[in-house]
Amino acid sequence: MTDITPIPDTDPTTGTVIEHAVRTIDVKREYKMGNETVRALKGISVEIGRGEYISIMGPSGSGKSTFFNMIGGLDKPSEGKVYIDEVDIAQLDSYELAWMRCRKIGYIFQTFNLIPVMTALENVQLPMIFAGMTTADAQDKAMEILKRVELGHRWKNKPTEMSGGQQQRVAIARAFANDPTIILADEPTGNLDLNTGKLIIELLSGLNQERGVTIISATHDHKMLAVSDRIIWISDGTVAKISRRDELKIEAGSVEGPGWGEGQARL
């Protein structure tokens, strides 16, 4: 594909080499709920390299969502540091955060979240428009990406005219619109049937290989684990375990979360 700009490993302004897509140092997050303080994250430190495919697993209430939002620049830590592309997100003002969300991070949601009044093409174009691209350029590029997710022929369909799998593929195309460094996928297969989910996972891992983009996905889907380089298990606001894919294969036959006994999956 011609439109792919390789993700720079060096910062264009400082020329320093960037190794980590995401780095967290002892991240804590506390919420006030009435008079009680809920400690959702109790100090998490992880390093996610460029081009890695990461799955975050954890039961609901484990702090998984909070952590996921944190590394997506959607939430700020109460304590500790979160670096996205070596930028401390706590230091960013709203303009810089918006720039970051627009250029550096691509979001994929469980509920697809396409803009209902826009066509597939317009949806993919939207982040490019936000990035200041001209409509003509954005159109060409959006079309290219739509073709990559094999939906070139559905470009003028509205989300309601497409199946869940197709909508999610448009959402993936949209996430890739501005050649982000990081793709954040929140349960991307959660609303899809088994086979469609499998296709989406294949698409994501294909794009991960081909573009060297970092994919971080919060998931319950064990199919996802098979393609992940590493799996971060979150439990009770801390990292319970980080496993590598090859370690998983050794466990042959079942994936066990540390302690919460989540379902079995053939890998």
Partner: protein
């Protein structure tokens, strides 16, 4: 490991045209929802416009009645009536004189009014009012002296015309009477009191419309929290979200106000015409009517944009995490 922080750049402000484009599409495709907002604007503004216009039409008619005795048309008509009075008096005295001595010859054909004047005496008299001599006398005179038929005919024509002129001269009284029967004040003190009352009613109607718009826009924000969150995830600035909502509301405002103006104008003209007929147009204060339309337009814009400011700010403050929430 590299620790040097890379420099993030700042997100750019999009040109207004982009926001316009997106807002326009959104409003077009959310037609039913926007119809709800628009209808409240249409109703309120139609009400405002019709009240203002009706008032202007009434003002025009009141001014006309006051100015009538000074008008040249009034003086013309008066002169014409005096001339007719002279003619009618002259013919009247001739007929009275003839009536005293007219003796139709025996065997003469009786005078047939229907062939001579085309109408029966009752019908003629309803056009002319009381004639100087009785119809029986005229019958007698014309049987005796058929050569006077022309004179009688011109008398009837003159009297008929005098009646028309009298009605024309009395138009202000008739108009005032029509207004009074419809409860429209004609005295300056009453007019002022009526104005004050009308202002209250207009104010209440606009308040209701404002609350309606506010409510509909808040609903629209709540319905679209996920969409707003998504847009923010894609890099939309708060100011862009605000622009989007204000523009959407402005479009609805323009459409609603235009429709409201049209309805208001039509209703006020139609009702004035039904009540006062052509008097509506005798003294049309075009300038003031245009001013009313301008006021309506400005109020419509203010109402729709003003009602959207709070919801738009609420939408802009929404955290992008909202997009992640799964519950529908």
């Amino acid at each position: 490991m590299t620790q040097t922080a890379a420099q993030p750049r700042r997100q750019i402000e999009l040109p207004l045209s982009k926001a316009v484009e997106i807002a326009y599409n959104s409003i077009r495709l959310r037609f039913t929802r926007s119809l709800l907002v628009t209808s409240s604007i249409v109703l309120a503004l139609a009400f405002l416009c019709s009240i203002l216009t009706t008032q202007t039409l009434l003002d025009g008619m009141r001014q006309w009645t006051a100015a009538w005795p000074q008008s040249t048309q009034y003086r013309e008509l008066k002169k014409q009536r005096e001339k007719l009075d002279v003619d009618i008096d002259a013919t009247g005295s001739v007929l009275r004189f003839e009536a005293g001595k007219a003796k139709p010859p025996a065997g003469a054909a009786p005078f047939d009014v229907k062939t001579a004047f085309g109408k029966k005496w009752e019908d003629i008299k309803s056009d002319t009012g009381a004639l100087p001599v009785t119809t029986g006398d005229i019958d007698r005179i014309l049987t005796a002296k058929p050569e006077l038929t022309g004179k009688v005919k011109s008398l009837i024509d003159n009297m008929r015309q005098r009646r028309v002129i009298r009605d024309q001269l009395n138009r202000p009284e008739a108009l005032r009477a029509a207004m009074t029967t419809r409860g429209v004040p004609v005295e300056p003190a009453d007019i002022a009191a009526d104005r004050l009352q009308t202002r209250w009613v207009i104010g209440l109607a606009l308040l209701v419309a404002f609350v309606g718009i506010l409510n509909a826009m808040l609903m629209s924000v709540t319905e679209r929290f996920r969409e707003i969150g998504t847009m923010k995830c894609l890099g939309a600035l708060d100011s862009f979200i605000v622009k989007l909502f204000l523009l959407e509301s402005l479009f609805q405002g323009v459409v609603g106000t235009a429709a409201g103006m049209l309805v208001g104008i039509l209703v006020s003209f139609a009702s004035a015409w039904i009540s006062y007929g052509n008097a509506t147009f005798w003294n049309l204060l075009t300038g003031e009517i245009l001013l009313n339309l301008g006021i309506t337009l400005v109020v419509g814009m203010l109402l729709s944009v003003g009602g959207a400011i709070l919801p738009a700010l609420q939408a802009a403050r929404m955290e992008p995490i909202a997009a992640m929430r799964v519950e529908a």
